[in-house]
Symmetry: C2
Subunit: 342 residues, 2 copies
């Protein structure tokens, strides 16, 4: 008697149920937010859908859960990711991190040694970001793995005007380093754990770099960290939210050859791969050179460069000029290429 | 050939692994915090182990994950719990809630209809607490159920001095309502889902009641919500942290007869059962009557009463006078009576 059973995931076509892609930060996540969450919980602050909410004009609050699988990968782990992600969400909102709250959901049987490794990693990342873990919670459930939620509170100068509303035609798009390394590192660690690879996560706290930029450079209109959905997610959001045409130039986008090779091998578009140490800055053209110079002075910005611009065409579309001179439209990823990347 | 396998939980004696009780809020949680977490992440703010951290003397930050199973139970669900828990943690720190961050970890196949129910419940509880959900995140993992993490930020008057440091001998211990209803409701819903019962969770946002108390009554020295580990957890913590003797009077502690009946049936001590709408206030004896009067004016405080006092004996022990006139020592629960109650 054949008693084999196959475990099936719910079909993406069964719209009555949650699928993995609802958590991928792409179009399906947007749908869940706009159709299910906002109609019930919406208010002017939440509706902004920014990386951090700004309360009383100066207190920034952000939250993110981390469910990355495997929890450890070259160059980092879920703990480093959780701290960097929350610090970066505060930083791109123009806020200076004041403290981080850490909630651990552990599973029965999880090795204390592994928890210690993760906590050490949290401690190191927090030190690098010059912020402290100030409060926390611990729960335990049956199952496998570890899930971490970090919330951060920060202070923002009430005069600070970092918002997609301030983006205007002519603005240049700058990034601080080569892209797609985090996502491909995790994918390789999960799908091909025995493969030797030089890739390692880019997860870094960018608050220092961003503080320098905001303190020293005028005309920084918008900042966003390119996490789930990658550069494509941020630039298509800019096009959609501003209504302007966003033009990227592929030859200008730095990609490490090993990363490009891994992406080609896996059939992935580097633009859509998640990062945890990449910030996208939209800057007034008069201040772009200065911005790049200041960013390059920082450890996490040595390869800063301009990758595109905002054009005065009101079509809300993002396009990219390819290396062979053609053009293609950049779409926001539907779900994510591989789930649980952060 | 016998191919049956049994899934075993890690033994509580295997100290190298996490067990469910590490998440129970009892002695094992305390051990995990003091032996594993604080040595790695400790700092003066985190070391306070208060319900909320106070930053810059006035910004309160708190976080809690909710993993209650089942996610729905008479009188509420995981969404109501998450909002009330976070609002109450801010309130007992003397802070007025400013905004809540909501992070959902959903599982593949979770019904959208159930998610809608939970979001409606979050919306209702937030409305009752007069606070908004201002930012959020959504992740999806394989598995069953839903896990919610809420973080809250609030503002506290820099003059506010609510802390166990201010507790002194003679102070009275007041609670706002009968105890143990939440924990027993969840236990019955999980262990005996077909049983008819009149029990329902007490989960309530207590910020309104606490604001009234702090605004109108002098001499409120300490506040704590009696969640995991119940009244026993709070009163033993008071004894340990202050070094004074805490004396409770069992006949004064309100317990609904149905709750007592359920506890007897399950062999549980109502003092150790979790609540989500019970606040413990320690108040100067000169202001106790006024405090009880003010608390009784609020919907969630109609049965407020004194249940014990702080005595000038420096032994750090909590005792209770029983209904038959004897005395017994109250211990902090080791783990929890049944896991995943919040």
């Amino acid at each position: 008697m054949n008693t084999a059973t196959t475990q099936t995931s719910p079909s993406i076509l069964d719209t009555s149920r949650i699928v993995l892609a609802h958590g991928g930060g792409g179009q399906l996540t947007d749908q869940l937010i706009s159709q299910v969450i906002l109609p019930r919980l919406g208010n002017p602050t939440l509706n902004e859908l920014d990386d951090a909410a700004i309360l009383n004009d100066q207190i920034a609050l952000t939250i993110d859960s981390y469910v990355v699988d495997p929890w450890q990968f070259p160059g980092g782990d879920i703990g480093r990711l959780a701290v960097c992600g929350t610090v970066n969400d505060l930083a791109v909102s123009g806020a200076k991190p004041l403290g981080i709250a850490l909630s651990l959901i552990l599973t029965e049987g999880f090795a204390k040694r592994d928890l210690q490794t993760i906590l050490d990693s949290i401690g190191l990342a927090a030190k690098q970001a010059n912020v402290q873990i100030v409060t926390g919670d611990t729960k335990v459930i049956p199952g496998n793995g570890i899930f971490i939620t970090t919330a951060g509170v920060g202070l923002r100068d009430p005069q600070c005007k970092i918002s997609s509303m301030h983006i205007k035609p002519g603005d240049k798009i700058i990034i601080n380093r080569p892209i797609a390394e985090h996502g491909l590192t995790v994918m390789l660690a999960r799908e091909m754990p025995d493969m030797m690879s030089v890739l390692k996560t880019d997860a870094s706290p960018l608050n220092g770099l961003i503080e320098n930029l905001l303190n020293k450079v005028q005309g920084v209109h918008f900042l966003r960290d390119a996490t789930r959905s990658g550069i494509a997610g941020v630039t298509t959001d800019i096009a959609t939210n501003t209504g302007y045409h966003v033009m990227l130039n592929e030859p200008d986008i730095p990609v490490d050859p090993h990363v490009q090779h891994a992406a080609d091998m896996l059939g992935l578009d580097v633009l859509e791969v998640a990062n945890e140490g990449v910030v996208v800055a939209v800057v007034d053209p008069a201040h772009t050179d200065h911005a790049v110079k200041i960013m390059r002075q920082h450890t996490y910005g040595k390869q800063s460069c301009i990758i595109g611009e905002i054009q005065n065409i009101r079509d809300g579309i993002c396009e990219i000029t390819t290396v062979i001179g053609g053009r293609r439209v950049v779409h926001k990823p539907y779900g994510e290429q591989l789930p649980r990347i952060c």
